[in-house]
């Protein structure tokens, strides 16, 4: 794109980041192609379930794996979900708060939320139990981030400000640096929910800035945060900040981003207004 030649340095950074993202994917390359966990990580639920089934003496980890595989082993039918639940309850019963037990609790909460029409209060309680039991764990961070979404969109008993406030209260766990991509998503989703409810204020800008500061491994998302920050800053009258973020977006936008010239026009228009 000829007009963007002066952004070559930033493009190189984007490419490096993309390569890093690709490198990350390389970490999960299977050492053993037929390992049940590896198969499961590649969406091959049935193949994984068959191997877990054969490993009858595999203990709690095997039960966790089999349950996870059964949740999507086609056809997904109620009897398989019930069996998965039973296996997970067995894992939890033996030791509810060790690493395996916590993940089993997390999967049980997910079953309640996405496989059964469990009342919101019960889903919330299941997630909170994990958060309380081991707030420093990855399972708790995932639970907190999922719970935030439940509060933001499913707590009909709360008004919008109540939903936003209760979801924001989970920041200490959901925003932990143990899982930075999850943390970035959590802050981003707080902002997205507020915008969905047509709330655009300093707090929204703050959440977006936190998401941006933690950063996403996906450079396309990271670049897009800049544009969203620019538009939100502009909407609440923070012109200088808006101009800075527009500039950052233009520097980091991929060559396939069709918003480039619109953002540039918006920035130029704002500059004119500022004068």
């Amino acid at each position: 794109m000829p007009v963007r030649h002066h952004h070559q340095l930033f493009k190189s950074c984007l490419i490096c980041a993309l390569t890093l993202l690709v490198g990350v994917t390389g970490r999960a390359q299977p050492a053993e192609e037929n390992d049940a966990w590896t198969l499961l990580s590649r969406f091959l639920y049935r193949d994984a379930a068959e191997i877990f089934e054969r490993d009858a003496g595999g203990g709690r980890l095997r039960d966790l794996g089999l349950a996870a595989a059964l949740l999507n082993d086609p056809p997904v039918i109620p009897s398989k979900i019930m069996r998965a639940e039973g296996l997970l309850q067995g894992v939890v019963k033996e030791s509810p708060t060790d690493d395996t037990g916590l993940y089993a609790q997390y999967l049980l909460a997910r079953i309640m939320q996405v496989h059964r029409e469990t009342p919101v209060k019960e889903v919330e309680a299941a997630y909170r139990k994990i958060i309380t039991a081991a707030p420093e764990s990855a399972s708790a961070q995932l639970a907190a981030a999922q719970l935030a979404l439940v509060i933001l969109y499913q707590r009909s008993d709360l008004d919008v400000s109540g939903r936003l406030a209760q979801a924001a209260d989970l920041a200490a766990v959901a925003g932990s640096d143990r899982l930075p991509d999850v943390a970035s998503s959590y802050f981003h989703q707080l902002a997205e929910a507020a915008l969905f409810y047509k709330v655009t204020d300093e707090q929204v800008l703050g959440w977006l800035e936190q998401a941006h500061a933690i950063g996403s491994s996906n450079p396309l998302y990271q670049s897009s945060f800049n544009l969203q920050l620019a538009e939100v800053a502009r909407a609440i009258g923070q012109r200088e900040k808006a101009l800075t973020y527009y500039e950052q977006f233009l520097l980091t936008a991929s060559s396939t981003d069709q918003r480039y010239y619109t953002a540039k026009a918006r920035m130029d228009e704002l500059k004119e207004e500022t004068r």
Binding site: A28, T38, F43, L44, L149, S216, S255, A263
Partner: protein, 536 residues
């Protein structure tokens, strides 16, 4: 009579027997060829592109590759599009698919990619040795030698956002353009400088109609069929509503997604009566005046025939039809970009910004390598050769499709097909309300055609249909999101076990979990919108 029927029966049996023998010999020879020569590597590649020039281009590239590698045989399989889906499933499940298969994301699920295809992420980060003679490309990775550098967007055909892997390598790009009969246009206008604004385009249409009336020739300005009309009006109307996005894009990222379009419609932020939208129907109505009577009932082939027979001056269609048009037309053909409505258009320009950007036109005709390939390394090597600058230039020259490799020469005839980079975002249109709403448009487009065309009547008639279709479509989308997030629960459990000892920060587990949260948020946002809508 009896003798004749006996003869016919014998003849039929004979033909069947002959066909069986030919097929048996072919199957036998295929196995024999490889068995006879243990060094021989046969690479079969399959696609459904039957457009003129494509097979010839692939044959030429394969021939050149075989000259470089005499122990290799490249065999091309062209499968008709109407049987492609069934053929693909049978081949993959049967366990002996071709080595290379054309991949599109709406036909090959993540599970299919993971089960049947080889990830190409690692080879794509290596250099392409077939670009060794290209000073500007030889030090770049194979991925970066593509014009778009194969940006891993969610919706592309060559990358799985769920598996975080590349699975295919593209060969071409396509855009939508208006092809025109230069003889008619020159006769009607005295010259054929292509129109750059909607008003100039209308002037062309009017001039052709006036010319037809003056000379008594049965010529119309535009080829008509609902397919071609949708191609044309889709491009035009997306410029008509651009500024509307600035008001109703609630996520404030200037990316007005299908979901946002549907939700804002559902919640009443806009309707078909919103002036920017109702103008869209007026524009369809005004374009319809230049199409042959009854165009809404005609199909794509009818429209193409009208153009090739010189009965119409212009046809809006994808550049995938370019080679066919150029080969079959016995007149001089030109092409130009669909002129968007600009902000200076006095009637239609109130909510327009300018031409719609085509920067996100993603590379297509992508080939993946099957896991069961006996020569997967060779298949990958052939893909590298196919997408070297030299081969991609050959491909573009012979097929007229746009090349995808940096610096590959765009043939003069394909220059007008190049994507518009300096363009603006697209606004909502009836087409962006997704498939069911698009069907309503197609089924009722006749109300916008002919002498009785009436945009207001169209809106009156279809409004209840859109109001019914939008919640249904949102419900369907929520179900799809739910299936996606459910699948990720299993995958995440596995990634957690595989990666927890190495540290989870920025791991695949972290990235996939973050993606799951985004999709879950989209699902819950839809459910919230439907609930709020129901309370009203």
């Amino acid at each position: 009579m009896k003798r004749l029927s006996k003869l016919g029966r014998t003849l039929a049996i004979g033909i069947l027997a002959l066909l069986f023998i030919v097929a048996a010999v072919q199957v036998f020879q295929r196995g024999r060829e490889e068995a006879d020569d243990s060094d021989l590597e046969i690479i079969r590649f399959a696609h459904w592109q039957l457009e003129p020039g494509i097979r010839e281009a692939f044959d030429a590239i394969a021939k050149e590759y075989m000259a470089l590698h005499p122990q290799v045989r490249i065999k091309q399989l062209s499968i008709p599009g109407r049987v492609w889906k069934q053929w693909l499933r049978t081949q993959l499940v049967g366990g002996e698919p071709p080595d290379l298969i054309e991949v599109v994301n709406y036909e090959v699920s993540d599970e299919m990619l993971a089960r049947y295809f080889v990830p190409l992420t690692v080879p794509l980060e290596e250099k392409n040795p077939y670009n060794a003679d290209e000073p500007d490309l030889r030090d770049l990775s194979w991925r970066r030698s593509f014009s778009s550098e194969l940006i891993p967007e969610d919706s592309v055909h060559y990358y799985s956002a769920n598996l975080l892997e590349y699975y295919a390598v593209p060969n071409a790009m396509v855009t939508v353009r208006i092809f025109y009969n230069r003889d008619i246009v020159r006769a009607a206008l005295g010259e054929d400088r292509v129109p750059e604004t909607y008003q100039e385009f209308l002037h062309w249409c009017e001039a052709v109609n006036a010319y037809a009336e003056k000379t008594g020739q049965p010529i119309m300005a535009l080829a008509g069929s609902s397919y071609n009309a949708v191609q044309l009006t889709g491009m035009l109307t997306s410029t008509l509503t651009q500024k509307l996005v600035l008001d109703i894009d609630y996520s404030k990222d200037l990316n007005f997604t299908v979901q946002e379009t549907l939700i804002t419609y559902l919640l009443g932020d806009w309707s078909m009566r919103t002036p920017a939208l109702s103008r869209c129907f007026e524009i369809v109505e005004s374009i319809g005046r230049f199409m042959p009577p009854g165009w809404a009932q005609l199909n794509r082939d009818d429209a193409m025939l009208q153009f090739l027979q010189g009965k119409v001056a212009m046809i809006p269609t994808g550049t995938w039809d370019a080679a066919g048009i150029l080969q079959q037309a016995d007149f001089d053909v030109g092409a130009f970009r669909v002129p968007g409505v600009g902000p200076d258009d006095q009637y239609f320009g109130e909510w327009a910004m300018g031409p719609a950007s085509e920067a996100n036109i993603f590379a297509s005709m992508s080939f993946g390598v099957t896991r069961t390939s006996k020569h997967s390394e060779r298949a990958i090597d052939f893909l590298r050769f196919m997408t070297s600058r030299r081969s991609n230039t050959t491909f573009a020259e012979m097929s007229t499709w746009l090349p995808v490799i940096k610096g590959a020469t765009v043939p003069a005839v394909s220059k007008p097909f190049e994507p518009i980079e300096k363009g603006f975002i697209r606004g909502p249109s009836v087409r962006s309300l997704s498939v069911p709403a698009n069907d309503i448009f197609q089924q009722n487009i006749h109300m916008l055609s002919g002498r009785t065309a009436n945009a207001a009547a169209y809106i009156e008639h279809t409004e209840p249909l859109y109001k019914r279709a939008v919640p249904q479509e949102l419900t369907r989308m929520a179900k799809v999101y739910q299936a996606t997030t459910r699948q990720k629960d299993s995958v995440l459990a596995a990634l957690y076990q595989l990666e927890k000892d190495e540290g989870l920060a920025r791991s695949k587990f972290d990235i996939v979990a973050s993606k799951q949260l985004q999709v879950e948020a989209q699902r819950l946002q839809i459910l919230r919108s439907l609930e709020d809508h129901a309370k009203r």
